[in-house]
Subunit: 385 residues, 2 copies
C-alpha cells in the first residue's frame, strides 16, 4: 500500500427536517450570501426554509449558477461579495452550485486573476471564505470534499481545482429534498457516483483492501437502488441511501493509496463543453469504451469487478470481462441513459474536434499509467460511437 | 435510515517513514509532553525517532501509561502539566496511551474533580489541550475517534467518555512500527477491531446499506489477513491493511444511523477489571455467547452475516446461524485467543461477582434494544463458560 494522507473536516448533518439546524451551524453574527442555481430551490420551498432558519442574520442572495458552473457567472458573485460585507457563504443546490461556491470562496480574497486558481489546480490558494452547503441533488460528492470543476465559456475549457481551504464547514443532507428532482437528474446522479467509484477502483491491484471492499460495496448498492430511486421517488430509505452513497463515492476515502484513472471524466468534460451533453451522460458513454480499450492494463481489476460486483463466476477470463462491461452498459441504459455517441447525434466526424480539445488542454497522458495518449483517447471515442 | 451527524477532523498521515512529518505537524513553538506506555517505545527506537523529529522544541516526557490506563496514573500527568508550560500533547503508543492522552487533554483545564468527565460520559467537557498521536499498535481505533476508556483502580470501574474536543489533530500511522509487536498484541488487535465492527453491525436491519457493506468488507478483510498478520509479521501490505482496517472499524463511519450493541464491551470491561484478562480476550469470550443468547433478536442480521461475511448459503436458518457463530469462535481460536471463561480459570462461581459489578455500574439495560438485563448478562456469562 502506498503512503497517503487523509483529512476531511466537513461536518455532515443528515436526515429529515435538518435545514432548521442552520440556526446552530451558521454564526449568529454572520453576514450570509446564499448561492443557488435555477428556480427549483425557490419553487420547492427549500430556499424559503433556508431563509427562515437563518432569520435574524443579514442575508443576500445570488441565483442563476448553471449546471457546469461558469467562471463568467461566478465572477459576478465575487464582485457582489467584494462590494458588500458578506463573510459566510451558503450553497443551496447540487454539485454545480457547491463547486461554484468553492470557487467564489477562494476567489474573493485572491490577488490577481482568479482563473489562475484553476490553471494551477488550486495549489496557490492561501485562504477562503467560510461556507456551508444544503445539498438538494445527490450526485457529485462536492458536499464533502475539497474539489471543484469550473467551466470557462470564453476559453471553452472545463478545469478542476482542489484545496483543503474549500472543504465545506458543514453540509446538510435531507433526502426528502430530493423527492421533487426530475428523474433525469436522479439517473444522472446515480451514474456520476458509479463512475466516481470506478475511476478510483478500476485500475490495477494495489493492495488497498479497505478501498477495494468499500468501492465494491458502493457499486453494489448503486446497482441495487439506482433503478428503485427512479421508480419510487419518494421512498425515504432508498433516497437516503442514494444520498449517502454519492457522498462516500467522492469524499476521498476510497481513493487513498490506490491508483486513479480519471480519463473518463477528462474526455467527458470536452464533450460537455463542445456539445452541451449532461456531465453524467458523457461518463456513461466514455466509461464502457475505456474499459474495453484498456482491458489489458485493467485485466486483474476487471476480473475482480466481474466477480465481486456482478457475481460473474463462469466463463473464461475474456468472457467474464466482456460480461462485466456489458452489465455496466446495461445498468446505465436501464436508468434511461444512453451510452453511445451516436445516441447524442455525434459521429466519427466529431472525434477530431474532441481530440484537438484534449490536446489543447494538455490531456495527453491520462489514466493510471499515464499511457492514455491522444491516440488511445481517439480509440476510446471510436469505441464509444 | 435514522438521522445522523458525522464529523471527524483528524488528519491521518499513513505509511513508511512518516514520523519525520512531526516537524510539520507540531507547531515550532509548541511545548510538548510526549506520553507513552511501557518500555517498548524506547526499546524499538520509536521514541528516539520522535524526539529527533521534534528537535528544537521544548519537550517533556511522561511514561508508564499502562494497558487499560488508570485514572491514578493519568492524574500524575495532569499534575505535571499543571505545573509546567506544556501546551501540546503527543501520544506515542496504542489505544491505551491515546485514550489516556485524551483524558489528560480534557482534564488539565477541567474545573472540579476530573473523574466527573467519565461519570458524565464527556458531556461536560468545554475544551482540551491540542494533541496528536503516533500509533504503534493497530487495534483500538482511538487514533481517529473522540472516545476514550479509563479505569479507576480505587473504584474498580472502567468507564468511557466521548467529546468532539478530543479528536486527535493528527495521527501518524507507520505500519513498519508494528513489526516488533508481540504476536499476542497483534492477535488481540485483530479481535478488538473485529468486535468493534460487530457491535455496530450485528443488531437488527436498519437499512443502512453503506454501513452494512462497509462493515462486512472490514470483517472479511480481518478474516483474511488476521492469520497472516501473525504468521508474516514483517509483511508490509498485510500490516498496512490491518492498521487501516482497525482505524476504520471505530472512526464512527460504519456506526452512523444504525443501532449499536456494546454489551460485549461492557461485560468484558468487568472481566478485565476483576480478573485482569486482556481486553480483547474478554471480547472473544463474550461475543460468541452474546450472539448465541440473543440469536432471536439478531436473527435477520445473523443470517446476513452468515451469507455475506462467511459465504454460508446452505442449511436451514438455524444451521446457518449456528455455523456463523461457530466460524466466529474458530476465527478467534485460530488466532490463539481462547473463547471460554474456563480457559481463563473462571468458573460458574465467578459469575455472581461479575453480575454484581454490572449492577453497581448501572449496566442493567444493554444491547440494541436495551433488553439485555442483568439476567440476560448472566445467561451470556453462563454460555461463555
Amino acid at each position: 500500500m502506498q503512503n497517503f494522507e487523509y483529512y476531511n473536516p466537513t461536518k455532515i448533518v443528515f436526515g429529515k427536517e435538518t435545514i432548521s439546524r442552520l440556526d446552530d451551524l451558521v454564526p449568529q453574527d454572520a453576514r450570509v450570501l446564499i448561492l443557488y442555481g435555477g428556480g427549483s430551490a425557490e419553487k420547492t420551498g427549500t430556499l424559503d426554509e433556508v431563509r427562515g432558519a437563518l432569520a435574524g442574520r443579514t442575508i443576500q442572495e445570488f441565483g442563476g449558477i448553471e449546471p457546469n458552473p461558469t467562471y463568467e457567472t461566478l465572477m459576478k458573485a465575487v464582485e457582489l461579495i467584494r462590494n458588500s460585507e458578506v463573510d459566510f457563504l451558503l450553497a443551496v443546490g447540487g454539485g454545480s452550485v457547491i463547486d461554484g461556491t468553492k470557487f467564489v470562496a477562494a476567489a474573493v480574497n485572491f490577488e490577481g486573476e482568479p482563473w489562475r486558481i484553476l490553471e494551477e489546480g488550486g495549489a496557490i490558494i492561501r485562504s477562503a471564505l467560510r461556507f456551508g452547503t444544503v445539498l438538494t441533488l445527490p450526485a457529485a460528492g462536492s458536499e464533502m470534499n475539497d474539489g471543484s470543476v469550473i467551466t470557462n465559456k470564453a476559453k471553452q475549457v472545463k478545469l478542476d481545482f482542489m484545496s483543503p481551504y474549500v472543504f465545506p464547514q458543514f453540509s446538510i443532507m435531507d433526502p426528502t429534498k430530493t423527492y421533487t428532482l426530475p428523474l433525469r437528474q436522479v439517473a444522472n446522479g446515480v451514474v456520476d457516483a458509479f463512475v466516481h467509484v470506478m475511476e478510483q477502483y478500476l485500475t490495477y491491484p494495489a493492495n488497498g483492501m479497505v478501498q477495494d471492499r468499500f468501492a465494491e460495496g458502493l457499486l453494489r448498492i448503486l446497482i441495487e437502488i439506482g433503478p428503485q430511486a427512479i421508480s419510487s421517488p419518494d421512498n425515504y430509505d432508498i433516497r437516503a441511501n442514494l444520498m449517502w452513497v454519492t457522498t462516500m463515492a467522492l469524499n476521498g476515502l476510497i481513493g487513498v493509496a490506490v491508483p486513479h484513472d480519471w480519463s473518463t471524466h477528462f474526455i467527458g468534460h470536452e464533450l460537455t463543453v463542445l456539445y452541451d451533453i449532461d456531465h453524467a451522460r458523457t461518463l456513461a458513454v466514455i466509461l464502457p469504451a475505456t474499459l474495453q480499450v484498456c482491458r489489458e492494463n485493467k485485466r486483474d481489476k476487471l476480473l475482480q469487478y466481474s466477480e465481486r460486483v456482478w457475481g460473474i463466476t463462469s466463463g473464461n477470463e475474456e468472457q467474464r470481462i466482456d460480461q462485466a462491461i456489458a452489465h455496466t452498459r446495461s445498468f446505465f441504459e436501464n436508468l434511461g441513459i444512453q451510452t453511445h455517441l451516436s445516441d447524442y447525434n455525434l459521429s466519427i466526424d466529431d472525434i477530431d474536434r474532441v481530440v484537438k480539445q484534449l490536446e489543447a488542454h494538455g490531456m495527453t497522458q491520462l489514466g493510471e499509467n499515464r499511457d492514455i495518449t491522444l491516440d488511445i483517447s481517439r480509440r476510446i471515442l471510436q469505441e464509444s460511437l
